[in-house]
Symmetry: T
Subunit: 149 residues, 12 copies
């Protein structure tokens, strides 16, 4: 049984740590990846950590990940109007956790509070900074290893 | 006079037959292509059948198809917020038929019922499964061969 | 097994060809009937072609047609607020195709774009002129003769 | 003093018991009439029980019933956009009870939850199946016989 | 050239003078007819004065009146959701004046203030009681006799 | 099998008969209780009649009543925004009838017309004054005694 | 008893006949005044015909006209957001007719169809060109002379 | 420095495990408490675990907890319209994590997706079952012990 | 005649002076009470000054105060969705002044600007800090002593 | 230091006492001025009391009053859409109290409940009749004399 | 051919440089006039630079400018609800550029982002400070001198 | 110090001059580039002029341009729903001018009037044809050379 796990990051997250640090913190995406790897290693799982600014690349990765052990997705700007990403999420057969670094409920723009993609996720973690990635991974891996000892 | 005809498919349709079969049926996109080819052959027309998950590729194809004999488009997730696709459709000078496999009027999500791109099409066929492709092609080719005997 | 097929036309369609020809074309309802008869004959089916301005007559016909081989309906002005027609459509057990001569998505009035009755139909064809009737009949009869050879 | 009482039924109720039994139950309109007659007999009142799919017939009956002892109306599809029925209801001088067999609050369609005609009724009973008719009649007849012993 | 003129009255106007006299006054529809006849006679025009509660009858009369000298219509309850009447009005080639006895802008209900059919009329007179009929007829006949001396 | 039946009244109903008698009538809550007791006695059922202004007390009573023979609830001010009461209603396994003394459809405030708790009830009776309680009890007890003779 | 009658015209009407003649016609405000004077003379009434671009001047005139025999107002641009004009209209004790030269229901802008000031008028005439002024004056003067012979 | 930590549960959570197990699972609130205690012990923190159906009791506890090391709150039905709870949360000076057992984004009701209280929280965990409590506690205690070694 | 006057304070006002002092100032509720007492003594009136976090307690106090000389209420969080408090306010027969310490019109949240309870008050004072209490009391007592010298 | 205080009244307030006395009372603006003068004299302040129907005059006065001791404004019809007045209020550097004679929250029109200008005021007093002026002046002058003894 | 060019400024711009300098900068309207004059001199054009707080004066100036070489307008508070200004702009036959000093899209108020008058302008420049005036003039004069060498 | 300046063009602008010339004019994108180069040369700046139909390419260019001297962007179809482009714009540290060739305020579609990306720009120029590019560049370069002589 597969124990691959995907962590997929949407547009502009390559600037993490540089852009609006008062909202997103000062840690870079490389720091996030390191954090995720350490969790995956603890569970003996294979981690695939990626980032893209292109919608079609995100869709291709979701197709690839359809039967993985789990997906952690930070859709960033794709959360709001990218229906094609939503449809790709719906085609996945594994559990999905959507992570947002900042608390969407506190964002100034009205539409930031309505994540289209969240409706396709198993659960949502928002506002806990990059810790949200770690919690999401632990939830997925604990559940996966329990089911496939 | 050109008798090229385009059948253009939007994001996630490469999964047709696998994803949500209770809505979209069990036939694959290859089956759709075979169906379309048999209609085109009957009329002696050249068929260009394509699928993409990338908005810019869809736009490029529409620019290429601007003066073809006709376009059948299943915009899938691009139907709703992809203004750039709508603008490319408006730049086309040939008849366009938008096809949806399921009946949009019965989808649970409110925005699924408002296709932005439909306003740029000559007509719309929705809810007749992959038969919708066949009917659209027959309409376009009958009309084209009548005008260019 | 019944091979009766109904083509039911709503209010003001008796004026077809006279009223707003730039939108609805110059062919009359008699021309539509002739077109439909030729399709039905090709499949050996019995065609019942009718038009009414009265909501209750449309409802009575739908009750009569509940177990026919199929229904093609152009609800015209009944598409928008006639809940009683919608309820009668829901009571039908055969496939239904809703046909509109012009493309609803291009009509100036907002409410023209929301067909209440479309939600009760199997599929919808809009914007292909009176050809829409022909395509709808072919779809229904092909499907019916396949199931009852 | 008149002790005539009207029970008026709107469109598609002639299909009661056949159409969507999981919502409307399996009893027919004839069963409803029998139920109503037994109540009326108990009070020595004259019952006029009718059904129509035609809006103008419903209006004519309401004009006839304007000075009866009471009206029970199940407007069915006329509840939502039939302003002419609403106006006829307003012209009545006797108490009116609107009855719906299913619970409007639980219907999937948004507009089903807003009965236009309900604003002209004395009261509304919804969701109690065909028992709603019996309760409505008892309310009206009890009140009428108390006032005219 | 035709000098027939139609005055068409919608549902519940047969109760005029009895229903809500504080809004609609105490004069009956017969009084309105008398008033209209006297105006028509002054201009030597033929008056056709009618009332119906049935939408399809109103549509039939409008089809009949399409090429008359003019139409005065008090659509009453048909003003609001009867799209089929609106479509029939649009098919008319003569000037149309819509008359309402009370001032729609002062009615308590929001939707009373939006007459769908008014968009198809040449002009609208509202709030002037039954005098509105007289003014409408004078406008139409003055204009007609000027054009056809 | 239990034949306990609850009649639970929400905030301000202790003022019944004193507050806005033109809407709610002149009878007190004691009168309502007397009326309910007489119905219960007729069926040999045990009646628990209560009133509270405190949301948590209402919730506790609903927990206690979860497996009773039935619940009649007049949620009064709790009908609109009290999600906790709605959740408690959903946890009940017996039939529930929501009663409102006045006709919600006629209340001036928009939000009065949308009862949140009504979605959790089996049925709703509104606008029949305190008779609504009696009708509700009879419906519940008739059904209960039929099932447990 | 006063037989003064006011005809008050709002902003930009001094350009009548020059501005957008396809909507407003080619007759100037002087032509309108001449038309109004001839009607007033026929009834022996005193006419006060005025135009202003200033909201406060319109308000002052309405205060002056509060106890006149009647007011005809074409509020033009003041019809939509000028609450102060609405309040001044409400302070008037004589009948008021609001006149619009074009049919508001046919204007392209949404807000043009909602006249704030119409709610304070006795009646509204719209879409009959400058004839609307004549009809309004005749209604007011006929009524006034009947009451003060 | 205080290392008290509060876990506060809102209305109807005393029924956890019994009510709608397909949404909330089969574990009881006692199981949740046990889970939370084991986490707290691991960090040597003092746990205060409580549940209430009363809004004022929740407010009192929040006042008491204002300067604790952290608060985990499952507001249940108080999440939506209980402004007083929101104000009490805002008065707290410690980090707050809001936990929901089911995924709010998947609940059928629109308002379930808008948690008012979430705006006052540091972060939100939703859809991870009772594991959400554990993750929330670990986040708070890790952060607290890092700051107060 | 009674000269009792109530000053009733809603949830979280027990924290006044501590919570968000930049909005609510640094004076405590005890300071407000002292200020109110000095006004009452000047007029020889009996003051009942109270605070609660419980909705049902607020309702009970309003029932008690129904026939007092006047009520000053700062509903705080109860202003927005607490329909039961609104109903209790409506049952009061004495003048009521609603006081808010900050200017609701300047609050960031949309719903803060719509006080449900304000519709039941005689008047509203907002944005004048705790001076608002003093002005409200002076208004009520001046008026009361004038009527009952 | 300046102790000039402005009381500025918007359009139609010159009719106070005459217009709709059931809403605005029977006292005239001269009575309001007298009341205000007596308060100002008590504090030794200079009162400037004015009324205008012209928006530009109100703006000019606000520019003049920018550095006064305080402004009491009853914007009347300017409260709702007069953005220029709002901008002028924002340019003022002294405290501003907006006064409305009737309770806006009880007005029938929706837009009456949203005062645009209130967002620029320090506080708002509504529904206390002309007493509102007195309370506003006392608040401003007490505060001013405390700061400039 | 006329080479007069108008620069028209709306309400409160006489306070430019004093009011909210963090938004509007510190330069006065006299500075803007100097800047505009230097551009006009370079092109040998006649500049008419004006400011008003009165809507009717703005309308009169627009009537005067109808056939000038061009208009630069900063409508300020008139941009939002002043329909009469919009109508006057529409009557102009020369190009119009609307200038706003700050970026409307960044203003906190929702309605600030919808300029009614912008729909009547040839183009809009917003957010470039007083440089916007210079760019607008250069555009108009370059175009004008090209057409009238 | 960098004096690179970017001119970035969104989807379908490669068709400029061909598509809908009555809206966008007959000049091609090559003409726009020539115009921009001549301005840049006059200021001795380096121009990077690009066009793409791909959202991710636009994002990559914006990341590259983050610390340039300025950006002129014509986002075309990306202006409306492309949140990822908006986020990339926000990450830029140089001034940005958004240019639209046609006046958005005059486009028939409602959503065309709401540019999402405009909120991230320093200023917006719309409706001045391709001259808008020239004005934008002059503004940016004048400002840049002033700051870095």
């Amino acid at each position: 049984m597969s124990s691959r796990i995907y962590v997929l990051n949407g547009p502009n997250l390559d600037l993490l740590g540089e852009r609006e640090p008062q909202i997103y913190g000062t840690q870079s995406l490389a720091d996030v990846e390191k954090l995720c790897l350490s969790v995956a290693q603890r569970y003996g799982a294979q981690l695939l950590f990626r980032q893209t600014n292109a919608e079609h690349e995100m869709i291709a990765w979701l197709h690839e990940a359809r039967r993985a052990a789990g997906i952690v997705i930070n859709p960033a700007g794709f959360a709001y109007h990218a229906v094609a990403v939503l449809d790709a999420l719906r085609a996945c057969e594994c559990p999905i956790i959507e992570v947002h670094i900042s608390n969407l409920y506190r964002r100034e723009e009205h539409w930031r509070q309505h994540s289209l993609s969240a409706a396709a996720a198993t659960g949502v973690i928002t506002g806990l900074g990059i810790e949200g990635y770690r919690l999401a991974l632990e939830y997925l891996l604990l559940r996966h290893t329990a089911a496939h000892p």
